[in-house]
Structures are given as C-alpha cells and as structure tokens.
Symmetry: C2
Subunit: 212 residues, 2 copies
C-alpha cells in the first residue's frame, strides 16, 4: 500500500509543472535539483523529497531530464487525460472561466454552461449556448461529467452540489463563498476570491511591522 502524500506536497506539484513547462519552452534538456531550487526559490532537498514521493525520476551525476519529468508530472497530476467540465452559473465569473482557452491546452474541456436567468439562457458564450439550469440533471445523466465548476451564489451552490453528487459528479471546482459539505469520496477544490483578497489586505496592512 502506497503511503499517503501530504497536501503540502500536492500543493507544490502544479508549480513544479509550470516551471518544467517553461524550461521545456526554453529548450533546456536537463536540470539538477540545485539549479531548479535556485530558479524556484525553494531548497534542492525539498524538490528531491517531493519528487521521490512518486518515484525516482532523476539520475545520479546527471540530474533530471526536463522532458521526461514534465511528462511524468502530467501523469501524476492526472492531466495526461482529458477532463470534461461543466460550468454552473453564467455570470461574469462563469463566462470568464468558459472563455479561458488555456484550460483546454491542459486537457480541461468545457462542454456546457448553465444558468437560471431566462434573460441570458440561449446566449452564446465561446462556442457554447447557455443552457437552462432545469436541463442540468438531464445533461449530467446523458453526458460524462468529470468536474462541475460552481460559479453561483452560495445559497444555490449547496443545493446544486447535492443534486450533482446524487447524479454521480465526483469533483467540484467551487467559486462560491461557502464550504460545500459533501461525501468524503467527492473532491472539492475551493477558489475563494474574497478570502484571497483578505489575505492580501492582511499582508499589506501588517507588512510594516516586518520591515521597520
């Protein structure tokens, strides 16, 4: 049985992936943990420890092959396969997500977007037509949905999330300012923008203490 990977490690993985992607674009073939640590501002020890949770990707005396490590990392992250996403809520944020074409490059395919406002149902967003939220259940039953992005007010998202779980959806990208309380086999990733902004405010307000 595999030992559990700590969430501290998991949080760092996408950043490794991003740096490896940049190195690849620059045509860098190999990199040592020491060089990468300098670039990323972390310790070489941490990089080696983190990677070795998933296997030995390097070679003594050589370092890591960038292309190989990049590909392995994409497998670890599960982005070597496509993910089908639907968006619930076609307000500004929902539309922004829908239009963000970079996700598709990473295999995140946005297939449908829903809203309960009759004024916008039927409108085009990217290459999709906004569907009515009352078609949501039907859609989920007839199409494979890996991830549901919730870009709706918190009162609605509790109900919608429950419904989607009962229809078999196993992963939520939650932009609502609420902690979804879902069964433990359901995965939730929160993007709480207002909390992010408060952290910024805290750091801005209190930094003087550190620098005086």
């Amino acid at each position: 049985m595999k030992k559990e990977i700590s969430s501290a490690v998991i949080k760092r993985l996408p950043r490794y992936y991003r740096y490896l992607g940049e190195l690849l674009e620059e045509g860098v073939e190999r990199i040592s943990s020491g060089e990468l640590s300098e670039k990323m501002g972390v310790t070489a020890s941490q990089i080696r420890q983190d990677l070795n949770n998933f296997g030995g990707f390097g070679q003594q005396g050589y370092g890591y092959n960038v292309n190989y490590l990049y590909k392995e990392m994409s497998k670890i992250l599960g982005i070597d396969n496509n993910h089908n996403i639907i968006i619930v809520g076609a307000g500004n944020l929902g539309q922004a997500i829908a239009n963000y074409s970079n996700f598709a490059k990473r295999g995140f395919i946005i297939n449908a977007i829903f809203d309960n406002n009759p004024d916008i149902v039927g409108k085009e967003v990217g290459d999709m037509k906004i569907m009515d939220t009352n078609e949501l259940a039907d859609y989920v039953m007839n199409n494979h949905v890996d991830i549901a992005a919730l870009a709706i007010p918190k009162v609605e998202s509790t109900v919608i999330a429950q419904e989607l779980v009962s229809l078999g959806v196993k992963a939520f990208w939650n932009f609502s300012h609420i902690d979804l309380n879902l069964p433990e086999d359901v995965v939730v990733e929160n993007v709480h923008l207002s909390e992010s902004l408060m952290r910024l405010s805290y750091n801005l307000t209190n930094k003087e203490k550190t620098f005086l």
Copy 2:
C-alpha cells in the same frame, strides 16, 4: 517587538471571519471555541491558539462575543478601512472582478480598469469606462492606489508590475500564471486558476487509492 505570525495562521483568518459573519447573521451572540471548532471542522485548540496570536478576545467561562470578535477580526485583516483597487486587463476575468459587487461590501473599492485593446477601450464595465493602458502611469500618479489586480497575460504582467512598483504600488492581486519577482516590501497574492484546477485533477485522479 511582536512575534511573527506564521502564514499557516494567516491563511485561516479569512475563514474564521466568514464563519463569524454567518453566525452574526444568524443572530448568535456568543460562541465557545468548542462550538466553533465543531462547525468549522478544526480543533478548538487551534482556534484559541490562532486568535491568541492577536490578543485575548475571549472570556473564561463565557467564550467569545461574536460581534466583538468579528469586528476585531476585521481590524486584524485590515478591512476596517477601504482599499482602492485598479484592475489591469479588461478581458473576461478582469471584467468579472470589476463586476463582483461583494468586494465593495468588504471595503475593496474598484476605481479603474485598464486595457490595451483599442476595440474595448472606452466601453463601460459596471459604472466604469475602460481606460487605455497608456493612461495607467498618469492615473497612478494622480490617484491613490492600494492594490493592483493583474488580469493580463504573463508576458505583460511582468512589465506592468515593474512599472507599477516604480510608481509606488505596494500590493498586487496576481491572476497571471507567473511568479512576479518584486522587491520584498511589495506584497503579492497569487490566484493561479490553472494550478487550482491541476490540484483538483490530482485529487480526483488519485482519490481511489485512498478509498479502496
């Protein structure tokens, strides 16, 4: 001299604030660390430790006064004063941020939005007209800007951030997929949506291991 507050603690503060706000709305007057811990799914010990970094807000035998703690928390977070924000980039994401009226409730006032695309400069977003990015420096010199939100491609954000720093901007809300490398007295809060999505992908792909 005050002891440094760990970033683990700081990350939790906005969530406390959110729960306290909800309690306040429900009309709850007092709460013990034990009750709150149950609601939030953390230990009571952690709550007391976290709060006591900033002072003794409770009372033995009674618990915490919700209204008082909520207000104190807003001071700690620095949201008892308004913050003036500008947004650079009026694409979907920039417009979504601009239109998100909830921020104003917390004292985050969005004053201006800029873009370098002549097709959209002059258009209305909320109650603002999109300004040309070549007016940005002028604007910052003549108006007080606390926070700049960067909703532009990564190649642009490096340059723009440097410029804004030289004009005195001290805080960035960075939506670009890049690590801004700014002087250490400048505060950066990153919102890396694609990394968030990769973490979701990781957890979705690997959860079976945990639940089998």
